[in-house]
Amino acid sequence: MEKNRRARFSLSIEKRIPVLFVSPCVAVLLAVSIFPFLYSLWLSFNKWELGMGQRSPTFAWLNNYAHLFTDNRFWDSIENMAEVLIFGVGAQFLIGLGLALLLNRPFRGRRWVTTLFLLPMMICPVVVGCNWKMIYNYSYGPLNHILRIIGIGEGLNWLGSTHLALPSIIIADSWEWMPFMMIVLLAGLQSIPVELYEAAKVDGASGWQEFWYITLPSLKTIIIIAILIRMMDTFKLFDLVVLLTQGGPAGASETISYYNYLTGFKFFNMGYAASLAYIQLAVIIVIATFFLRSLRKGEGG
């Protein structure tokens, strides 16, 4: 009898030990991830104007989401974001792929060159923003100085023009994150079996055919993952906007995350800020699903 009881006790301890080990992790996850996620979701259906000293939220049904449809600044910031995603991530991919192809060829000092190319990614984003602000300065910046030397007028109004402010941010962001694309694609290139190229050569394939029929299909998975990561990251573009333009001039470079920041932490309209955040999340999920689906299609094929 006593023996049975002991056996049952030790069995129940054995069953509980894994729970005991997992529980701190679950508690931390609940506290820092699940609870804020659910709380902010609930908040997005509430009116909470901290700016007017409102101490607790009041339920506002779908008002915050309905307001999004009439908020021009929201739609403008979405449009700006789309430009950054298409042109910024697109440029990072194309330049990154080009550099990866170059660095995949053997030459003396290849390791050093690869390391040098990685430097922008290692610099603190705030420092990147400050540096580009100096580079873009119309009167004293080195970029316009070079343009003047080579005779391109008086230089370009990089940050003070509504047409160039967003492209300037895209250039700075691409400079910083292009190495990420490059290193990921380089790793992908180096994993392609050499035999495929040897066989293609035997079959008399040209360089372009090798690239189109071997390199690109072999890199497909890596390309999708790299573009997806950069898109999700770019969607949060904030630091360069704050440092270079503050979303100006006239909102020409206001991204969705910067507008969200203003709404939440400058205007203290917490409910609306939460709804903006959830719209962002929804868009990111749609993009991610699209990319992951193409990934699965690739696997199937």
Binding site: G51, N137, S139, Q246, G248, A250, F267
Partner: protein, 477 residues
């Protein structure tokens, strides 16, 4: 030399006070007060006088510095949550209505009657707009920001330039007194490379003027014009925005007219860019904060040392006289949260900073604090960074004149949002995306929505309370 001797004497007296008065804190409970302010050199005085605060008032300070642009949100969150996290707050004055109106700040009138902050010595604009709410004292002065017109004295006094200006415009070249003159002077001094300025051929462009173009402060450069043309923020009876009035549109048109004489990237200009274009000697005049005058006298930061003149910001002619109003953006005041556990000790500290050490703190290049007391303006010898005492006098007289005609920022809850909506629309007019009238109508519409969200009645009461205080002080018509 004389100044150094005075400073040494003051230092010896302070040390003597510490030694002799050391017993005064004997047995006195030492409490820790938490101070929050924008990080950097403006928090230095709290460090410098920490030993004195400990000996004199039994206070140890824990100083929290946060980035300049994040101070408001840090304070607001703690106030709303009533955490009692801070005992002394550096507050940007445009939030005084927001904080005092919601009851977050301690009324200091009772303490002021015990230990005087010498408020009659503070220039009225700064004292009544920024330290008081509804006529009651909620903060003590710390940093007296006001906008002033800086110009290139050497060029304005150049005989060749003077003659050419008179020939072109028919009146004497001088610091512009009106906004129309401002445009004339800006146009006159705007030169391309290869053109001549004061007898020398220019290698780089020279601009007639420049302004703060970034969205956080651009409204203040419009506001100088708006306020001098008789503009007000709201109709105090209805709380309807009044920014799209004729004064607002005329102000924006004048600003637009100045654009061709500014650097092409002026809409990206913040404080640093605006300071640099002037101190590098590449612009004839700018409207800027007082610290630019001090930096302009430092050869390490300025290429135009001794060549800077300072004048009131331009205005309009009204009954034969120039009427000008200088915006007072930024600035700093010292306040005590209503939930501080040691308000009297906190008051003693801020009173020391606002009275005892204030002259030393606003006259040193080691802080960014600017003068605000009549006694500061009467102590030019303390401002040793100027090459001559005459230069210091010109600087102080200019700041005093502008502060005396100071005009406040919109100081009610939601001011950041009001200012942002206005700034975006001002920029849209300047880029040609909208007409001036359309831009200000749109801004007014956004202001109406903000007021409605914040509750029209609450905002109206707060605004009326502020206006009543200003009117009682003779600062509002």
């Amino acid at each position: 030399m004389k100044m150094a001797a005075i400073k040494m004497f003051i230092g010896l007296v302070l040390v003597g006070c510490l030694i002799l008065g050391g017993g005064s804190s004997f047995g006195q409970e030492v409490v820790t007060l938490t101070v929050i302010g924008d990080a950097g050199h403006n928090l230095k005085p709290f460090e410098w006088y920490a030993p004195i605060f400990k000996e004199e008032f039994g206070v140890e300070l824990k100083v929290i510095g946060v980035p300049f642009g994040e101070l408001y949100e840090k304070e607001k969150i703690e106030f709303v949550a009533q955490t009692g996290a801070f005992d002394i707050c550096i507050v940007y004055p445009k939030f005084i209505g927001d904080f005092a109106g919601a009851g977050y700040l301690l009324n200091l009138d009772e303490y002021a009657s015990k230990l005087g902050p010498r408020m009659p010595d503070v220039v009225p604009g700064y004292r009544d707009f920024y330290c008081k709410f509804g006529g009651k004292l909620y903060a003590l002065p710390y940093d007296g920001d006001v906008l002033s017109l800086y110009y290139r004295k050497d060029l304005f006094e150049n005989a060749e330039e003077k003659a050419a200006f008179k020939k072109e415009f028919g009146y004497e070249l001088k610091a512009p007194a009106t906004w129309d003159e401002y445009l004339d002077v800006a146009k006159f001094f705007n030169h391309k490379p290869g053109e001549k300025l004061a007898g020398k051929t220019l290698k780089t462009p020279f601009y007639g003027t420049a302004f703060y173009g970034q969205r956080d402060q651009i409204y203040a450069w419009w506001g100088n014009r708006f306020a001098s043309m008789g503009g007000i923020y709201f109709n105090e009876e209805t709380m309807k925005p009044a920014i799209n009035s004729k004064a607002g549109v005329d102000a924006l048109e004048n600003m637009k007219a100045a654009l061709p004489y500014c650097p092409p990237d002026v809409l990206a200009y913040g404080y640093e860019e605006l300071k640099d274009i002037f101190l590098n000697g590449d612009a004839a005049m700018v409207i800027q904060w007082p610290c630019v005058g001090k930096k302009g006298a430092d050869p390490k930061q300025s290429k135009i040392v001794g060549k800077i003149g300072l004048a009131p910001v331009p205005g309009i002619m009204k009954e034969g006289k120039v009427y000008s109003r200088a915006l007072m953006p930024c600035g700093r005041v010292l306040a005590i949260p209503a939930d501080s556990k040691h308000p009297w000790k906190a008051y003693q500290v801020i009173q020391w900073l606002a009275v005892v050490s204030s002259t030393a703190d606003v006259s040193t290049p080691l802080t960014g604090l600017d003068p605000y007391r009549f006694s500061h303006f009467e102590t030019p010898e303390a401002f040793e960074m100027f090459p001559t005492i005459e230069d210091a006098k010109v600087y102080l007289a200019g700041i005093k004149a502008n502060m005396s005609s100071g005009y406040p920022e919109p100081p009610i809850p939601g001011s950041v949002e009001y200012i942002d909506a206005l700034a975006v629309n001002i920029t849209k007019a300047l880029t040609g995306e909208k007409s001036s009238k359309q831009a200000l109508d749109d801004a007014a519409k956004e202001w109406e929505n903000i007021t409605a969200r914040f509750d029209v009645e609450k905002q109206r009461k707060l605004y009326q309370k502020l206006i009543a205080g200003w009117r009682a002080a003779g600062l509002w018509e």
